[in-house]
C-alpha cells in the first residue's frame, strides 16, 4: 500500500518535470524573441527569422535588378534584414504597407494600421506587384506557406492573368 503511494508520488513528480520541460520548450515560440538576420536558403542570400531553434526564411534575394546601383543580392539581404530587426523591435513591422520613394515602388512600415510610410523596408524591382508582395509578407507571418522569392529568372507574370489564361502547361516527364 505504502509502496503504491510512493510510486504515484514519483509519477506526479515525473509529470511535473515533463510539464515544466515542455513549457520551457514551448516558450521558444514566444513571438517577442524573434531575431532577423541574413543567411542562406536554397543557395540564395535570404532574410531569415529565428524563433528559438526554428528558422523561417522570409525573403530569398537573388534579383540582379539592383546590381547596377551597387546593391548585390548579398548587400540587399544584409541591409533589409537589419531593417526588419529595427522595425520589429520598435513595433512598426505590424503595419507593413506600400508606397513610392524616388519614383520607385517600395515596401515600407507605418506607425499605425493604414498609416503612411514611416520607414523603408525594401525597394521593389521594376514590374513587381506591390500588393502581391505585401500579401505574401502577410502570409508569411502566420499562414503555413513559403517565403518570398525575388528573382530575375523570368519576367513577372501577373497572377490573375495566368489564372484566366488558357495556356496549358507542358507535361513534365
Amino acid at each position: 500500500m505504502w509502496s503504491t503511494h510512493h510510486w504515484r508520488g514519483g509519477l506526479v513528480g515525473l509529470a511535473l518535470l515533463v510539464g515544466t520541460a515542455s513549457f520551457a520548450l514551448g516558450a521558444d515560440a514566444n513571438p517577442k524573441k524573434l531575431s532577423f538576420y541574413c543567411g542562406t536558403s536554397q543557395g540564395s542570400p535570404a532574410t531569415l527569422a529565428k524563433s528559438g531553434n526554428r528558422i523561417v526564411p522570409i525573403i530569398r534575394w537573388s534579383s540582379d535588378a539592383f546590381s547596377d546601383s551597387g546593391f548585390s543580392p548579398e548587400r540587399r539581404c544584409q541591409e533589409v534584414s537589419k531593417r526588419f530587426q529595427t522595425y520589429y523591435d520598435d513595433g512598426s513591422l505590424s503595419f507593413i504597407t506600400t508606397g513610392r520613394m524616388n519614383g520607385q515602388n517600395v515596401v515600407c512600415v507605418a506607425r499605425s494600421h493604414g498609416g503612411p510610410c514611416a520607414g523603408l523596408l525594401f525597394t521593389l524591382k521594376p514590374g513587381a506587384n506591390p500588393t502581391q508582395v505585401i500579401n505574401q509578407l502577410f502570409n508569411i507571418r502566420t499562414r503555413a506557406s513559403g517565403p518570398l522569392n525575388e528573382t530575375t529568372a523570368r519576367p513577372y507574370i501577373d497572377f490573375e492573368e495566368f489564372l484566366t489564361g488558357d495556356d496549358t502547361p507542358e507535361p513534365t516527364p
Partner: protein, 261 residues
Amino acid sequence: MKCSIRWLGLWGVALLAGLGLWEWYLARPRRPAVPQLSEALLNRLARSVTVKVVVGRNWGSGVLVARHGQTYTLVTNHHVLEGDSQATAYQVRTPDGRLHPVQSPARIAPNGVDVAALRFTSDQPYPVLCSQPQLPAVGDPVFAAGFPFPTEGQADPGLVFTTGQVQLILPQSLEGGYRLGYTNPIEKGMSGGPVLNRHGRLVGLNGVHQNPLWGDPYRYASGAVPPPELRAQLGDYSWAIPVVQVWQGLRMTAPPCPETP
C-alpha cells in the same frame, strides 16, 4: 348481426397487421454508424489522399476530393498558389511520387475564402477523401497532414501526420474563412493539407499555424476585431477552414460520401 361480426373480424386483422408493421418498423435494420478508424489507419488514409502542390520554388499541400473519369480535383489554399510570383504553372505530386501538370485555370474562391481547386488528369487510380458537412465539436480529436518545408540543410521530412483536438470554434470566420482552432502542430508547407475526423472524413483545410511570427494578424472576415480576451488565445492554435466554407467558397458541391457497408 352477422355483418357486424365480420366487420369486427376485419378490424381485428387490420389491427394485427398494423401492430406487425409497427414491430417491423422498430426492428428494421438501421443504417450502420460510420465506423471510427484507428490512428494507424487514419495515417494511411491521410497519406493516400494528401498531395504536394508545387508552385515554382515553393510548395504547399492539397487533398484529393473528387474524381470524374480520369480527372481529379484537389483543394488547397489560395495562398499556396501565391507562393511564387514567378511560377507559370502548378504541378501536383501524388502519393505514388508521380508529378502531374495542373490544368489551367485554377478555381479561386471569389469571396476571399483562402481556398482554390485544381484539376489534373491521370489514368492511375487515386482514392479521394469525402467531406463531413457538419462542424466537429470542441474536444473532438482531429488529424492533420501536409508536407512541411525541410529545415535549411536538413532532409525533406516528407508527409507529416499530427494528432490533436478541436479547441476553439469561433462565432464567425477570420479573414480567409478560418474558423476551427485546433491543437495539432502545423508547419509552413502544410497549408492546404487535410484535417480529418476519426471517421476519416474531411472536416477542414490547414492554413494558419500557431504562434504568428510577428504582430497580431487576427481579424474577422467582416473586418471586425475579436475581443481582446479572445484575441489573446488565437495564437495558441492552428486554424483551419471548415469544409463547408471550402465548398461554398468555391461554389462547388461536395460529392456525397459512399454508403458504409
